[in-house]
Symmetry: C2
Subunit: 210 residues, 2 copies
């Protein structure tokens, strides 16, 4: 995990994965994120994860019964964080354009700063077990619904011109999520700069009156 991520991960920007307790369970989760991101879920063993966390496999089993349980927990926390970010922006003050710009810039900043976590959350959905997959699919629908709501409110208020609100929402979410793929800490842009650039491009996309 990069330094940028250590300072701004999980649920709390200062204390990564602060909601995961006890400390040993948190340490194992961070190790699992790193291992899954580096080698992929299927190539990672619980032994690898325990080793990265400086623990024994037996100590891991106290906190997580299976490797899938770790992935499901990472995925749930990641999606809940995404939902909180977008709900805050969608429920905020201001015009639809201001709220959409806020949603996009916060969501992009999270995907840039948390790109390691976000890659695991976005690319390993197929590896989830049946129960956790159903739960995550429901969360993803709620996540999308926040953005679609702001797009529709903008259309109804005459602020946006969007022939297909579902299609525009899909494109907006896709643009934000893919930041996790290409973002590099030593690249041209900071997370804030990508957030501002993308908020502007998305307002163009929905035909916002300027």
């Amino acid at each position: 995990m990069s330094t940028a991520e250590e300072t701004a991960a999980g649920g709390d920007e200062r204390q990564p994965w602060a909601e995961v307790t006890p400390e040993a369970a948190r340490r194992l989760l961070v190790a699992a994120v790193d291992a899954f991101a580096e080698r992929g879920y299927h190539a990672t063993t619980t032994r690898d994860i325990a080793g990265r966390a400086g623990m024994s496999p037996a100590a891991l089993y106290i906190h997580y019964k299976t490797k899938e349980e770790l992935l499901a927990r990472i995925s749930r926390i990641g999606h809940e964080k995404a939902l909180a970010i977008l709900r805050d922006a969608a429920d905020g003050e201001g015009t639809a354009a201001e709220r959409l710009a806020g949603a996009v810039s916060s969501f992009v900043r999270w995907h840039a700063a948390q790109h390691t976590t976000a890659r695991v959350v976005q690319y390993e959905l197929e590896a989830l077990g049946e129960d956790s997959r159903a739960e995550i699919v429901a969360l993803r629908k709620e996540v999308d619904a926040q953005v679609r709501r702001v797009v529709q409110e903008g259309v109804e208020a005459g602020e946006f011109e969007v022939p297909d609100a579902q299609g525009a929402t899909l494109a907006i979410m896709s643009l934000c999520i893919d930041v996790a793929r290409w973002f590099r800490v030593d690249g041209r842009w900071t997370p804030d700069e990508v957030g501002a650039l993308y908020a502007d491009l998305v307002l163009n996309m929905v035909g916002a009156k300027r």
Copy 2:
């Protein structure tokens, strides 16, 4: 590999990976794409790939010395195809808006129809060896340059309004590439529909006069 992909993969839309000969080398490559997409590069062995192709590990080694050689070949062919699609569109007839719409819709259609291949090509770059990575990075720069050229020509011709051509190019490429992540053969949209939707959204994004 899905049915949609079987009918439209690799270099030729009718004959997937037709440029790979002999037939046994082609069959192994198709098996490698499927295995890498399903389990990830690091979780796949050459034995898995040979098995999927109905061949022995010894028969695989006649065509590919290492697993990395398979990935490098898949990546090279995929990137060359992307470059050909975008170069054709960028070099085509018409205004910058027409050429940008053509580039986006063709590139999106390829990422939708070839989503399995595209995921391997886009998500396993880190697994490439040093030499092939340098080659692929150079190809990716050329791929991006095709789109940036059309964006800049549009700005110079007064067709587009783009404060940051490099940023807009990044967003356009990202939008197209991420289609490989979310596209489902049984989903709401066909590859053609996503291509048309995205071409329209991208023209908005660059402030094309309509």
